[in-house]
C-alpha cells in the first residue's frame, strides 16, 4: 500500500493538473468569444456573395462560355480534399472528427476508382492524415504563427488551390471543417467549393432581375469566382477557430470536473489511511500499557 507521503504527492499533482485545465478552459472561453464574433462578422459578406453569385450564375449556367470554376472541368476523376483542422490538440474530438469525415470521404472516392489529393490546413490534421495518405498529400499549410485569422490567410490558401486547379491537377475540390453550432456541438462538414455551388435557395429567392453588367458578365465572374473560393475558405477557417475553442472549452471543463472528482476520492482514501494508522498506534500503546 502507498505510504501517506506518496498519497499526499499524488493529491498535489492532481490539484496542479486541475489548475492547468481550469486555466485552459478560461482561456478557451475568452478566445471563443472573440472567434465567435469574428465568425459572425464574416457572415454578412459570405451571405451576400452567395446571393450575388447565385443571381449571376442563374443567368450564366445555361450558356456555353461558363467559366470552369462554376461549370466544372466536365470530369469527375481527381478530387482535392482541403482538410482544415486546428494547430493544437487538447480539444476533445475536434481534430479527429474532421479527419474521420475526410477519411471516410477519401476511402469512398478511392473505392469508386477516383484519384484523391489532399491539402491539409493545420498541423494536427496533417499529422493524422500523414499516417494513412502520405502519398496523396500534395501540400500543407500551417497557421501556427497566426494569432487572428485574417482574410489574407484565406487568400493565400485560395491562391494555392486555384493554382492547382489552373494546372489541371484536380476536377473537384471539397473543403472539410467543423461548423460551429453551439459550444458543445460542432458539426464536421464537407463542402464542395469547386465547381462552385451557390445555394439553390439564394438564387431562387431573389427575383432574377435583369442585371446590367459592367464590365461584361464573364469578366465579373472571372473576378468573383476566385474570391468566392477565398471567402468560403475564410468562412471555414473562422468556423473552425470558433469550433476549436468551443470544443477545447468543453473538453477542459470535463477534465477539470474529473480532476475534482479524483481529488475527492484520493483525499478520502488519504484520510481513511491516516485515521487507520492513528487507531493502530493507539491500540498498540493501550495493549502495551495493559501488558505491564
Amino acid at each position: 500500500m502507498a505510504s501517506l507521503k506518496d498519497m499526499r504527492v499524488r493529491i498535489a499533482a492532481t490539484k496542479a493538473t486541475q489548475k492547468i485545465t481550469k486555466a485552459m478552459q478560461m482561456v478557451a472561453a475568452s478566445k471563443l468569444r472573440r472567434a465567435q464574433m469574428a465568425a459572425e462578422a464574416a457572415r454578412p459578406f459570405a451571405e451576400r456573395m452567395d446571393r450575388v453569385l447565385g443571381n449571376i450564375a442563374a443567368g450564366m449556367a445555361a450558356s456555353e462560355g461558363a467559366p470552369k470554376l462554376l461549370a466544372g472541368t466536365g470530369r469527375n476523376q481527381v478530387h482535392l480534399l482541403i482538410v482544415a483542422t486546428g494547430e493544437r490538440g487538447l480539444a476533445g474530438a475536434f481534430n479527429s472528427s474532421i479527419v474521420r469525415l475526410a477519411r471516410e470521404h477519401a476511402n469512398r472516392l478511392m473505392a469508386e476508382g477516383k484519384e484523391v489529393k489532399i491539402l491539409t490546413v493545420g498541423r494536427k490534421g496533417h499529422e493524422q492524415l500523414r499516417r494513412l495518405y502520405e502519398k496523396n498529400i500534395v501540400d500543407r499549410v500551417e497557421l501556427r504563427g497566426v494569432r487572428t485569422i485574417g482574410f489574407t490567410n484565406a487568400e493565400d490558401i485560395a491562391r494555392k488551390v486555384l493554382a492547382l486547379f489552373e494546372q489541371g491537377q484536380f476536377d473537384v475540390a471539397t473543403l472539410f471543417y467543423a461548423r460551429f453550432k453551439t459550444v458543445v456541438q460542432q458539426i464536421p462538414t464537407a463542402q464542395q467549393i469547386i465547381p462552385a455551388k451557390p445555394p439553390e435557395g439564394a438564387a431562387a429567392a431573389a427575383p432574377t432581375a435583369a442585371y446590367e453588367y459592367e464590365p461584361e458578365e464573364e469578366e465579373i465572374l472571372d473576378e468573383l469566382l476566385p474570391r468566392y473560393v477565398a471567402v468560403q475558405i475564410f468562412r471555414a477557417l473562422l468556423e473552425n477557430a470558433a469550433s476549436f475553442y468551443g470544443s477545447q472549452m468543453s473538453a477542459m471543463d470535463n477534465a477539470t470536473r474529473n480532476a475534482g472528482e479524483m481529488i475527492r476520492k484520493q483525499t478520502l482514501t488519504y484520510n481513511r489511511t491516516r485515521q487507520a494508522m492513528i487507531t493502530k498506534e493507539l491500540i498498540e500503546i493501550i495493549s502495551g500499557a495493559e501488558a505491564l
Partner: protein, 136 residues
C-alpha cells in the same frame, strides 16, 4: 429625399448598413452615383473613395477593389478592404504601391502589365486623395 438601403461589407466585418440618399461608387469603368430606384446592375470596383450621403451628412470610405450590386433591395458593396478615410492604414497602401511597382518592373509588356499600371494609378490616386485630406 428618397432613401434606399445600403450595405458595405468586407470579409472581416459589416462596415455600414442603413438608409442613405446617395452613394458614389468607384466602379472599374468609372465612378457612378446610386440614388433610390437605380436600375439593377453588377459591377467590379477599382481602388478608390466611396462617398455615402445620408441625412446625417457625408462619409468617405476607402475601398480597395471588390463588387457592387444594385438590386430592388438596395445597394450592396462587397469590398476586399474597406475603411473610413480617417482609419485607413496609410502604411498598408504605401506597401501595396511598392509591391505593384516591383511587379511592374518584372512584368513583360502586355495585358498583365497594362493591368498592373492601371492598378498602380488607382492606388496612387487614393494615396493623393488621402494626403490631400490629411493636410486640411
Amino acid at each position: 429625399m428618397a432613401t434606399f438601403h445600403f450595405d458595405l461589407v468586407s470579409p472581416e466585418k459589416l462596415l455600414f448598413s442603413g438608409e442613405v440618399e446617395q452613394v458614389d461608387v468607384p466602379g472599374a469603368e468609372g465612378d457612378f452615383g446610386v440614388l433610390a430606384g437605380h436600375a439593377p446592375m453588377v459591377t467590379t470596383l477599382r481602388p478608390g473613395i466611396l462617398t455615402v450621403k445620408s441625412s446625417g451628412g457625408e462619409q468617405k470610405i476607402v475601398v480597395l477593389g471588390g463588387f457592387a450590386e444594385v438590386s430592388a433591395e438596395g445597394l450592396t458593396v462587397l469590398a476586399d478592404t474597406a475603411d473610413s478615410v480617417e482609419d485607413i492604414d496609410r502604411a498598408m497602401i504605401a506597401t501595396r504601391i511598392g509591391e505593384i511597382e516591383s511587379r511592374i518592373a518584372k512584368t513583360e509588356p502586355g495585358n498583365a502589365l497594362d493591368k498592373l499600371i492601371t492598378q498602380l494609378d488607382h492606388y496612387k490616386a487614393v494615396d493623393r486623395h488621402l494626403t490631400g485630406t490629411a493636410m486640411h
